[in-house]
């Protein structure tokens, strides 16, 4: 089957949704625009908050996508709105120090920040009222304060948050203002066509080869607006917004790896471990927004960030190291658990990259550098100190050979810091801030696109997602992705006469 558009956007997450909205005014001038999204669009009532069924419906591989080494799980959304359907809505502005370090010609911090602020307003970013902050978050705040750490509150993009705590399973109350709730619906109202369950296989000269999948009988979501089958879609301009894994993989499948030697390189992801502590009383933890505070004062010196978090039973069980009675005891104490997410600020490493296998499927190679290991270890130890300062009776330290540390044996923390039991494959590590692979830069020798997301040497092909990052952003990335996507859309609008 054949279709024809002026502009096709591949992916509907923070990047694709933003590009769709920003280009949508062109529809009034007769420009035909389509968004092709691999995942489904769920009806509001299908967001049940049940862990396994929602993970299966909204995440790639049900949330179990593994690196090639099988030592880290990567979480990436696969639905209308991409990963914005499963994030917590934390909305930080890009750090000036990082943008300077990126050193991309024609990419100024001021420009990116200004655009990020525009989307912060558009997506209702604000500080959650203190009455809606639960004890899991308050205890982190109090622990940090007692230790004189510079704890900060996350701005979040919520509207009418009921406090279900189920953000990472898709908000059942439609409170998170991701691209699935703001930019995509607006783009559709303006005339952009969004085609779900449409997997893009490859791109050749201004033609996309795609496959629309049928909805399985028991699956969630609406069927695609297109009949299941193979499609050839002609487009005058193509914007790839499939995320840091699928964007480079798609360009590789399309045969551009030789022309763009940096394709797939520069992958970073903020590898993370979930820390859990037990209090001697029930606390409000699985009611209320899960992510209200963060600590970034050690990002430069010790290479880690801490964020509050609250996960679900299976995810928590997986995150605790070990097994058996000790593990079960923490699980049985669920209503007394406090959680902290430790994220390592990783940097570009030559080994860490996206590639494809013989079938064209993406393969992510990732090894933990000594700096990342140190960041995770120091972050875990700092989290343990915060837990105890907040009154926890025992802490689960996954980096220790005997992971349970009681409040009476805090002196063990220094020993553990000196000799951590950091064994890849044993330690549960995951990542959700996937970045790089189609980096912006000067030319093909150092990057894949220019500062406006245009692929080097291919004037009709653009990238607009987190794969553009030349190195780790060291904060939650989505406002920065939207800002960069806005720049890409602006470039396409400016060049519309020649492109279209």
């Amino acid at each position: 089957m054949r279709r024809s558009y002026d502009i096709v956007i591949i992916g509907s997450g923070a990047g694709g949704g933003t590009v769709a909205q920003e280009l949508s005014p062109l529809c009034r001038e007769g420009v035909r625009i389509a968004v092709l999204e691999k995942g489904p669009k769920l009806r509001d009532e299908e967001f049940t908050g049940r862990e396994l069924e929602m993970a299966q419906a909204l995440y790639e591989d049900g949330g179990g996508f593994l690196t090639a080494e099988r030592t880290m799980t990567l979480a990436l959304g696969c639905a209308y709105g991409g990963s914005t359907s499963v994030y917590t809505g934390t909305s930080l502005l890009p750090p000036q120090r990082i943008l300077k370090r990126w050193n991309v010609p024609e990419l100024s911090f001021e420009d990116v920040e200004q655009r990020a602020r525009k989307f912060a307003v558009e997506n209702n970013v604000h500080f959650l009222e203190s009455g809606l902050i639960n004890e899991n978050n308050r205890l982190f705040f109090e622990g940090c304060r007692r230790l004189n750490y510079q704890v900060q509150q996350f701005p979040v993009n919520l509207k009418g948050c009921a406090g279900s705590s189920l953000c990472n399973l898709g908000c059942p109350n439609q409170a998170k203002q991701g691209t699935d709730r703001v930019q995509l619906p607006r783009a559709e109202r303006n005339g952009v066509e969004v085609v779900t369950r449409c997997e893009v296989l490859r791109i050749s000269e201004k033609t996309i080869f795609a496959r629309v999948h049928a909805k399985q009988a028991a699956a969630k979501g609406e069927p695609s607006s297109w009949e299941p089958g193979e499609y050839q879609i002609d487009a005058k301009a193509i914007v790839v917004c499939a995320g840091a894994i699928h964007s480079p993989a798609l360009l590789m499948r399309s045969g551009w790896a030789k022309k763009l030697p940096k394709l797939g390189h520069g992958f970073t992801c903020h590898p993370a471990i979930i820390m859990v502590a037990e209090h001697n009383r029930a606390i409000t933890n699985f009611v209320g927004h899960p992510k209200s505070f963060y600590l970034d004062q050690f990002a430069e010196s010790e290479r880690f960030l801490l964020e509050t978090c609250m996960y679900f039973p299976f995810t928590t069980a997986k995150a605790l190291a070990g097994f058996g009675e000790e593990h079960s005891r923490f699980m049985r104490a669920f209503s007394r658990l406090q959680m902290i997410l430790v994220l390592a600020c990783d940097k570009v490493d030559a080994h860490n990259r996206v590639n494809i296998d013989r079938a064209g499927r993406p393969v992510v190679h990732y090894r933990f550098t000594p700096e990342v290991v140190s960041g995770l270890v120091q972050g875990a130890i700092t989290s343990a100190k915060i837990f105890f300062a907040a009154g926890a009776v025992r802490v689960h330290l996954p980096i220790a050979s005997c992971p349970t540390v009681e409040s009476a044996e805090t002196e063990r923390l220094n020993q553990i810091a000196q000799q951590p039991d950091f064994k890849t494959g044993k330690l549960p590590i995951s990542a959700a801030h996937l970045q790089g692979g189609c980096a912006m830069g000067r030319g093909p020798a150092d990057s894949v696109t220019d500062a406006h997301g245009r692929v080097h040497g291919i004037p009709w092909l653009f990238v607009a997602d987190a794969s553009l990052f030349p190195d780790s952003l060291e904060i939650n990335p989505y406002l920065t992705i939207m800002a960069l996507a806005d720049r890409v859309a602006e470039t396409i609008r400016k060049d519309a006469r020649t492109l279209l």
Binding site: T284, A317, K318, F323, R361
Partner: protein, 130 residues
């Protein structure tokens, strides 16, 4: 999918989550249905590796103890799994991590378990009286 390795898998689950040894047949079937559903959508190679790893556990015990994993005492089963979890070869550690993850998925994915551990998150959030 689990049929050829079911006894070993059940023994692994009961070692990883000791409470699972109290499950009745119906609960075991529910647990295994969740695991099979999770495996169904994964690459065929991963499913093969899962079964292969469980067979490796079985043969390791036959060589070491003269009996299969499921016939060992709980203490010996724990010792075997700790050995695999801390093995010097990363691939073996990863294999155990995968099996352990599926055991947790099956056990903590069951609605009764979620209730039993006191996890009562509700889509209505703060509106639910607690």
């Amino acid at each position: 999918m689990l049929s050829p390795v079911r006894p070993i898998f059940r023994a692994v689950v009961s070692t990883v989550v000791p409470e699972a040894s109290n499950l009745d047949d119906q609960s075991w079937r529910e647990l295994e249905t969740l695991v099979e559903a999770a495996l169904r959508d994964r690459p065929p190679a991963l499913r093969r590796q899962f079964r292969l790893f469980l067979r490796l556990v079985q043969w390791l015990c036959v060589f070491r103890y003269g009996r299969g994993f499921a016939s060992l005492s709980p203490d010996k089963r724990t010792r075997v799994l700790l050995y695999l979890q801390d093995h010097r070869i990363e691939l073996i550690r990863c294999g155990f991590w995968g099996v352990r993850t599926l055991a947790f998925l099956g056990y903590y994915g069951k609605p009764e378990t979620v209730q039993a551990i006191g996890y009562t998150a509700d889509v209505r959030g703060w509106q639910v009286p607690r």
